[in-house]
Symmetry: C2
């Protein structure tokens, strides 16, 4: 796709470099003042350019924002994947649980280190900005990474048979033929099945994603819940809900993550 280095003209090189530098300056702006303070003019000022010059590189402010969002999702996804890869399979029976804990810790660490980038992707939606489809893939890396951990744990027989306390048996949505097999009511079972099917069907997915489809429906549902709850703890910490009580939140977070691991069935 890109021209080999030798054949790249000075112009092409300069363009690639400046495109990168603009994004870096924008990232610094984002880190300093948040998504709302991010303006093309501020970025151009930091680079010593005139604001209109940026339009040679990004067609609009929204495109620059999209680029930052994709980068943030990617960086977070890589942090999670790296932490998972850092736990070697031979490390005893609890590799799956260790991977889960490591991934959650890495996600939180990235969020604490990059609070504004975190807020950009997991805070309230930026007003007037509609995330384009190009962000969907990068956004899915973290959930896929977590699902991959579970798929491996299932394959390795590391899941506990009794997944702990289950939903209230009095709930009216718990009925239908799926209930006996999965413990899930019909809407949940159907939604989980549809998600699994979509993962299998997705032609662009890599092996890890396809693997994630092998997770049983009830585990998948629990994983989605745990995923949301994980980010709930991180958001509360970053957005200041724990101020004055559980600060630092390290121990609280570790406790919560351990419970989430048990909840999804990791032994």
């Amino acid at each position: 796709m890109t021209t080999p280095n030798a054949a790249r003209t000075a112009r092409e090189r300069a363009r690639a470099e400046l495109t990168r530098e603009i994004k870096e300056a924008a990232r610094r702006q984002l880190a300093a003042v948040g998504a709302d303070g991010l303006s093309l003019r501020a970025v151009s000022r930091e680079l010593g350019m005139v604001s209109s010059a940026l339009y040679r590189y990004y067609p609009s402010r929204d495109d620059l924002l999209t680029s930052l969002i994709i980068d943030a999702y990617t960086a977070l996804g890589e942090a999670a994947e790296g932490a998972i890869a850092g736990v070697r399979p031979g490390a005893g029976a609890g590799a799956g649980r260790a991977r889960w804990v490591a991934a959650c810790g890495a996600i939180r660490a990235w969020a604490v280190a990059n609070p504004h980038e975190y807020a950009l992707i997991y805070g309230s939606p930026v007003p007037g900005y509609r995330a384009p489809d190009a962000t969907i893939g990068p956004a899915a890396r973290v959930p896929f990474a977590l699902a991959g951990v579970l798929a491996d744990a299932v394959a390795a027989g590391e899941m506990s048979a009794d997944p702990g306390p289950v939903a209230d048996p009095e709930r009216t949505d718990l009925k239908g033929p799926d209930l006996e097999r999965t413990g899930l009511g019909s809407p949940l079972a159907a939604q989980a099945a549809a998600l699994s099917a979509a993962l299998v069907r997705d032609a662009t997915a890599d092996a890890a994603v396809r693997l994630a489809a092998a997770v049983p429906a009830d585990v998948l549902v629990r994983a989605v819940i745990a995923w949301a709850q994980l980010f709930g703890m991180i958001s509360f910490e970053l957005f200041g809900q724990f101020v004055g009580s559980f600060e630092p939140a390290d121990a609280l977070f570790a406790y919560g993550v351990a419970q989430l691991a048990s909840f999804v069935g990791l032994r």
Copy 2:
């Protein structure tokens, strides 16, 4: 504090009414365009006033925002409290669990019905805005309401003896004399104790708040985690992370809330 109705002058009445009307218009603006689209000029336009006139009622934009934030916290707190009060004590053994589920459902319902107000108080912080101390009390209503449910359940003997899967025993922060009693490591035990003590000490607190201090330390820690996780599920739903898979999220949410109830120890 306020003059009795009969003695109120027309001016006082008009002032009170307009102050309210301004806030209502601001709330409508907030609901329509979000916190960033909220401007004094837009509010004044909706009211057919000149923008400078608002300064007779609110000294600045931030004060108006503060007022909206307090109202949002209050409305959400009342929704939770109302749902809890709606579950009668005599309703069998599981009143505590029923109250927990009702409170969580009411919180979610309010959030879904008022997404922008929810984002204002639980989304990313508004840039350049520093929440004044006056917001702390209203912000605490929901956690206090949940803690009250647990305190009542503890008093009624409705808590399960075995609170389910506990934290990873290999964790290094799990040590010290507190571990045997509460299952908590030292930082968590200390933080929970400090929080309880603060609740007891607080002279302005009402009976319910003091009651919440009676919750055992480990239950308090679990409750804080569950509180954060609850809002994680709601934020993910509102901010679009479930788009395309678990929509509607009713069943997913119900499943998650039931698991949170078990996690905090409600039988």
